[in-house]
Each structure stands twice: as C-alpha cells, then as structure tokens.
Amino acid sequence: MPTYNLKVNGESHTVDVAEDTPILWVLRDHLNLVGTKFGCGIGQCGACTIHLDGDATRGCLLQVSQVGDQSITTIEGLSEDGSHPVQQAWKEIDVPQCGYCQAGQMMTASSFLSKNPSPTNEEIRQAMHGNICRCASYNRIEKAVATAADKLS
C-alpha cells in the first residue's frame, strides 16, 4: 500500500493505507484521533468536518491521496485545552445533548467565523445548515456561534 505524509494539527504523520481511504478513517483508525465522527459517509451530515488549510471539509469524502501537503486541523487541534472561542462558547451555552455531532458543528462554526467574524443570525443559520444534529440542539448551536463571534471580535 502507498504511504502518505500528512500534516495534522501541526504534526507530521506517515500512514500506509489504500489511496481511496477517506481521511476520516485515517484520522480515526490509524492516527487515533477519534474526535472527528462518522455519521453518514456521503457528505450529508457534517459529523466528520475538519479543516483543510482552514476550510471546513467533509472528512468522509476527502481521500487520503487528495490531501497532498495541505494541512489538516481536527477538533483535537482546534485547541487541546478547549480554549478556542468556539469551544468556550459551546461550554458556556452547554450545547450538547448526546454530543456526537458537536465536533463537526464546532469545526464548521470555527471555519465559518474565521471568514465571517460578525455574522447575522441568518448567516449563522445558513452556515450551520449542513450539519445535522439528531438531538436537535439547534437553538443552542445558533446561540453558541453568535457567542463565539462576540468572543472573537
């Protein structure tokens, strides 16, 4: 199997996996970074959202061979100690119910806010529309994104 050099959360890793392996499974099964979640595998739910050079990207659709030297950030790398404003806001608002979707929600939110630091509520709702929360903690997700925006500005 081919080997790939990956830059994940500022560290280099070499993995030996089939070229069509989605980065989601490389992270989870090979690099032990299980914060990135599997929800659908077809780009519909957003549970697997990571940043690829800062852009929110679906980890289940991105094959390891497509990454090249772009750098990957996962929830573990957003900040290790939970100090990123988005993580802070998530704690403050107590967003999670089961919590399973929340890593993906936070990765979508943090990438969105880095591009639009003072969004309107409508923009927040549009930006978060691609992430499913089966527990429907949507009201709090919306509020937490707004709270994180306040912290960032």
Binding site: G39, I42, K91, D94, C98, Q126, R134
Partner: protein
C-alpha cells in the same frame, strides 16, 4: 440472591457503607430496590455485598466526592442530573464533585435502563435518601469527635459546624463515619433550601466533548481488535442461500469472512477496509417470507379500521348508543409512516469472547437484558459476561435492542478475536427496528353542542399501544369513551421510538380536538379546559393525567405564546399532552414563506415537578419539540418489496438548522417530585404545527410527513411574519 423476601421500604436495605483500602468511605446503594415499597431485598442485611448495589458515592480523605452514576447516558442528561440530587442532600459544593459513569458489568449492576423517561422519576427518593444518609453519618462522626449532640451540628458545602463555631471537613471525619451504623431516619432538605437542584449545571462530559476525547462506542479501541462490517438481508423476509467471497479475500487488509445467522461479516484491520470488503461480497438471497410493501400495509391497516377485529383497551359508558343518538358525528383518520431512529452515532459494539469470558463494551440502553441474551445465544453462563457502557451518540429507543451486541458476540465467538461491529449509515437505516406505521381513526358523537362519545381505533404494524395509554386524556373527560386496537403481523421489525405510540397518537388526538373546537364553535383552548373540568375529582384511579396540572400547562402556554393575540401573518396552533408522567402544552407559530408553511416558534409549557437541572431540562425540551416538528414535517420511510425506501440522509430528511423554530420553554413552578423529560416534549409538537398549518392555509393535514401530504399548490399567500 436466593434468600429473599419482601420487606418494606428501608434505608438500610439499600445502603451500605465501608472504608476504602486507600482511605475514605464508600457508600453503595441500590437505586432500584428502593423505588418501590414492595422491592425485594435479602432478609439478612449482613448478607449484602457490594454486588447488590448499582450506584456508589466515594468520599476521599481529602473530602473529594466522586459519584458513580448508574444509568446509561444517551444524551438525556441523567449523568449530570442524578449525581446533582445526591450532591444536594450530601450538602457539598458541586465544583468539588467528580462524576464518573459507574464501572459496569452485569454481575454488579442490574436494571440499568435508559427508557421511558424514568431515570429521574424513579431515582428521586433513593438518590435523596442516599445523599442525606451519608451526610448524617458524617455529622454523627463529627459530633462524636466533639462530644456534642448531632442535632447541634449543621453542614454547608462539605464542612460540618457545631454550636461553638468549630468546623470539620467531611474528609476529616470520613474514616470514622464509614464505621458507624447506617441511620434509619434522616431529614431531607426542604425544596426551598436547594442550592444545586434547580440550578444550571453544565453537562459533566462537556470538556471531553468539546476537545474530541474518546467517549462513544465508536471511539473504543482494544489492542488486537478487528473491525467487522456485516452484510444483512437486502429485504425483510430474505434468507441467505449462498455467497461468494473470492473478490473480498483478494482485497489487502481483509482478515476473515464469517457467516452467521442469516448474515455475513467481513473482518479487517480498519473500518474502511471492512466496509470496502463488504461491498465486494456477492450473496444470493431468496424470499423466505413474503416481501411486504407500504402499499399493502396501507390497504391492510385501512381494512382493519373498517373491520371489527379489535381488542378493546378501555370502554366507558355506551359508545354505540352515544353515536346512535348523536346530532352530528365527526370522524377522521390519521396516518403515519414507519420511522428509523437514525441515532447520530450508528450502531456499533465491541465483543471479546474467549473460553472463560465474554467481554462486551459499547452503547446500549439495556445492558442487563442484553448481557443475558448474549449468554443465552452462546450457551454460556451469565457469570462469564461483563458489560460496560459508553456514552451514546443518541438512543431514541434504538439502543434498547441489543441485536448489534449479539452480532458482535457471535462474530467474536466464531472468529476467535476481539471484534467491533460497526454499522454504516446504510446498515443502520436499513437493518432498523422501526417506529411502526400506524393509522388512527377517531370519531366523536356530538349532541346538543356537547361531545357525548369518543371512539379511538388503532391499526398498527406488529404491536399496539400498551397498558396505560388508553387512560390518558380524554379518558374520564367524555362519559362514553372507547379505545380499540388491531394489528397486522409483518416481517418488518418494529420497536420503541422516542415516546412510543404517543409520538403519533398525540398528533392524531390533538389535531382532532382542534377540529372538534371548530365544529362546536368553541375556542380551542377553552374546549380543552372545559373537558378537563369533567375529570376533576374523579374517583377513577386508572386515569393517568392530572386535570389540574394539564390545566396549568395549557394556561401557561396560552399566556406565554400570546394565544389569540398573534401579529399579522403569524398563525398559531395549540396542543397539550400528558405522557411519561409529565404534562406539556405547546403552541406553534407558523408563517407562509414562498408558498410553504414555516414553523417559526414553539412555546412550551412544562410541568415535570421540581426541575433538577434547568440547563439540561431546557435542552431536552427544545430537542424533543424540534424532533417532533422535524419528523412530523419532513421524515418519510416506506417499503417496496421488503426494501426500505431510504438508506442514508440523501433520501431521508431530518430537520436542519434553517427549518428549526425557536423553542421557548416555561416550567410550572411547584415542589412536586420530578418526572422525566427525554420524551414528553415530542408528542405534542406535531399537532401544534398541524393546527397552525390549518390556521394558515385552511388545510387539515392528517398524514405525516406534512410537507409531502399537503396540497402546496393551493397555498398562495406569502406573508412574512
């Protein structure tokens, strides 16, 4: 425990303390034995060992408190709320409490179930007694040290104080306390003195969740573990004839292919390899039982409603006579599809079966029952089985069924390896245990402007409404009242789905009352209040709901939603329902945007007694209400020749952010014992929305999902509210 008999409620019988080897005190208690006055406990208390307890408090020498929460956490918040109750009566500062999921195996733990919104309701007394007893023992130890009477001592946040102003921390007396008799009579706090209960406590796992630490079954790993992807029958009723795995075995990374039951498992070193391997399997299936389709079910269920093969669940007065003598009869049929649970975390489980041990780890709502099933299936002794629960990425009823645990155990047994079974979303949606398709037909007899008869008929796939539901509203409110049920046996697997039966029954009934109000020319809220008057002071102890508490939530929802005073372009729908021991009333605000109904807001009024954790409770109510709106509006699931119509989110619609209403939550404030919140906010939501849609468009939607069963062409108005 062989030597058992019935004893009355006794603190001693469910509590035991001991000193810990490493210092400190351990208090074991049995949450479930203590729930009912008829609980079975051993006669000889000395016989008790820690295997009889299912929850523990540990107080260390330094005063640190660890509370092991016994019940499965599926996102309903009990891992936070149950320890809060103990900490309150123990009188410690919440910041100094560490909460851990009980170390779980079937030998030490029984009856740990997350289901029916019952954890808090059934745990309330026991949790309080436990905390208060531990506190009293610490006080007794301190009093003995000081040579004063315990009644002269007070506690505050883990510190004991006497009349002379001397203080001792819990940690300083814990060694002595552990050796004392368990006191028989302890005083519980007055609700007015609660400091933790009723507060806003953040989810105890929040730090791990926001930093992506391993928490869920999906995240569990063990050295040497292999991943299994399972090929199951493509259609209900199919049987495996033969399979060809030559293409699978040619793929690098594949470890084994195992046939078991009616399925084939592909084992690999990683999830992706296992999933890819499964796709390369070629299997031959044949029809063992007839493949069924939703079209047939529709015909069959309607036939049942038209027929006379019913079982009567409750009959008051003389319904036949009431209808014969009626001036007017209103009759409607309501229809709902099957629904998959779609927990965000797909089904998965770890099993390691060896010659002397069966180790099971993962997300399950019914650990004890499942461990037993595994033992039976493999012909092993239950003593050999251990089971640990992980945090669950949703339950909604799906994880009550341990089918995936049995699969993992069987594969591990056959492959002789530690195995984790992982479902893809497609597996999860198409090997489901679905909310059954149901039809309700409701008729009301009207005479002289009054409802004189009410007849509810249920036709369902495989299973009917259970025990107490026929005694919910409007039982007792209408003198001639009858509930009849019929079912059709299908080969499609069905089961509990968040608020079983009531999740759709509430929609039917509360839509029907909305229409009845029009027929009777009464205000919708007033009609419900009038009916509740008839139940007040009832001597019928089968009646489950409280007319006073129902009236309370109805009035609060009407007040907070501005019922009858909405602004132009906003249309409201009303609904109220009792289930899972909690009363909830909801008002939906709907506007028409681009020719479609859009739910803008849901106002909820809730009576769940004392609210343990406001922060968690609001999250549950908001989630339940939005879940109810989402499934009623958008979600559809059917079968064609035994094959599900949807298998992933590209063809199964769940509510998303932009369709989500704001949910405002108001609690009735009282000091009654707390009841659960995981389910009761869901059932009323559908009717609140349907009734608002009627107000906005004049269309009565009687079939879910609304968006597919409305005539959208005639919705002309575009009014932005």
């Amino acid at each position: 425990m062989e030597n058992t008999s019935s004893l009355s409620f006794s603190r001693r019988s469910f509590l035991k303390t001991s000193t810990l080897a490493g210092g400190g005190m351990l208090i074991g208690f049995n949450l479930f034995n203590s729930c009912s006055p008829e609980a079975k406990v051993p006669v000889d208390l000395a016989d008790l060992n820690y295997n009889d307890f299912n929850a523990f408090i540990k107080i260390a020498d330094n005063g640190a408190v660890t509370i092991f929460s016994p019940n499965p956490e599926i996102g309903q918040g009990v891992k936070t709320a149950m320890p809060m109750i103990i900490a309150e009566e123990l009188d410690v500062a919440w910041e100094n409490v560490l909460v851990a999921q009980g170390v779980l195996d079937t030998k030490n733990y029984t009856r740990q179930v997350a289901g029916g919104s019952q954890s808090i309701r059934q745990g309330w007394d026991a949790l309080r007694q436990t905390g208060a007893t531990a506190r009293q023992m610490l006080v007794n130890a301190a009093a003995a040290k000081w040579g004063v009477d315990p009644s002269e001592c007070t506690t505050e946040e883990g510190v004991i104080k006497n009349a002379n102003g001397e203080t001792l921390g819990y940690g300083e007396v814990v060694k002595e306390a552990a050796l004392l008799e368990v006191p028989e009579n302890v005083t519980l706090k007055e609700p007015g003195d609660f400091k933790i209960i009723g507060g806003d406590i953040t989810n105890v796992d929040i730090d791990k969740i926001v930093t992506g630490k391993p928490l869920y079954g999906m995240d569990f790993k063990r050295e040497g573990m292999v991943y299994a992807s399972v090929l199951r029958p493509p259609a209900f009723g199919n049987k495996l004839v033969d399979f060809d795995d030559s293409a699978v075995k040619a793929i690098p990374g594949i470890i084994d292919v195992v046939r078991f039951d009616n399925k084939i498992a592909v084992l690999a070193g990683s999830t992706w390899e296992a999933m890819r391997g499964k796709k390369a399997l070629k299997a031959k299936w044949e029809e063992e039982t007839k493949a069924e389709s939703t079209e047939d079910h529709d015909r069959i269920l309607t036939g049942l409603l038209d027929g006379n093969k019913f079982e009567t669940m409750r009959a008051d007065g003389n319904v036949k006579k009431a209808f014969r003598e009626a001036d007017q009869v209103l009759e409607r049929t309501y229809e709902s599809p099957f629904l998959p649970h779609n927990c965000m975390e797909p089904m998965n489980f770890f099993a390691h079966v060896t010659t002397n041990k069966i180790e099971l780890i993962g997300p399950i709502q019914t650990p004890a029952g499942t461990a037993n099933r595994v033992a039976r299936k493999l012909g092993r002794n239950i003593e050999e089985v251990t089971l640990e629960m992980t945090r669950m990425g949703g339950g909604f009823g799906r994880r009550l069924y341990g089918d995936f645990v049995l699969e993992a155990a069987e594969i591990s047994h056959l492959a002789k390896k530690p195995v984790k079974v992982v479902y893809s979303r497609e597996d999860d949606m198409s090997a489901g245990i679905y909310r059954p398709a149901i039809k309700y037909r409701i008729s009301a007899a009207i005479k002289d402007g009054e409802i004189t008869g009410y007849h509810l008929k249920e036709a369902a796939i495989n299973s009917n409404m259970y025990g107490l539901i026929p005694n919910f509203f409007p039982a007792g409110a209408i003198s001639n009242y009858q509930v009849d049920v019929a079912k059709y046996d299908s080969n499609i697997t069905i089961g509990a789905w968040r608020a079983p039966y009531t999740n759709f029954l509430a929609f039917s009934e509360q839509s029907f009352f909305d229409e009845l109000a029009d027929v009777l020319k009464k205000d919708r809220v007033q009609l419900r209040l009038d009916l509740l008057q008839n139940v007040k002071g009832t001597t019928d102890d089968r009646i489950q709901y409280s007319p006073e508490r129902m009236e309370g939530v109805i009035k609060l929802a009407a007040e907070k939603s501005g019922w009858g005073k909405q602004s132009d372009g906003v249309y409201q729908g009303f609904s109220a329902y009792y289930c899972h021991n909690t009363h909830v009333s909801e008002v939906a605000d709907v506007v028409i945007e681009r020719g479609r109904p859009v739910v803008k807001k849901i106002t909820c009024a809730v009576d769940c007694g004392i609210v343990i954790n406001k922060l968690g409770a609001i999250n549950q109510i908001q989630g339940g209400a939005i879940d109810g709106v989402g499934h009623a509006m958008f979600s559809n699931f059917s079968f064609k020749d035994g094959v599900p119509s949807a298998n992933n989110f590209q063809n199964y619609r769940l509510i998303r952010m932009m369709e989500t209403p704001k949910v405002e939550v108001h609690f009735i404030e009282n000091e009654l014992s707390p009841t659960g919140l995981g389910e009761p906010a869901l059932p009323p939501a559908g009717a609140a929305v349907a009734n608002a849609i009627f107000a906005a468009t004049g269309q009565r939607v009687v079939k879910q999902p609304f968006i597919e069963n409305m005539d959208l062409k005639t919705v002309k108005k575009e009014v932005i509210g």
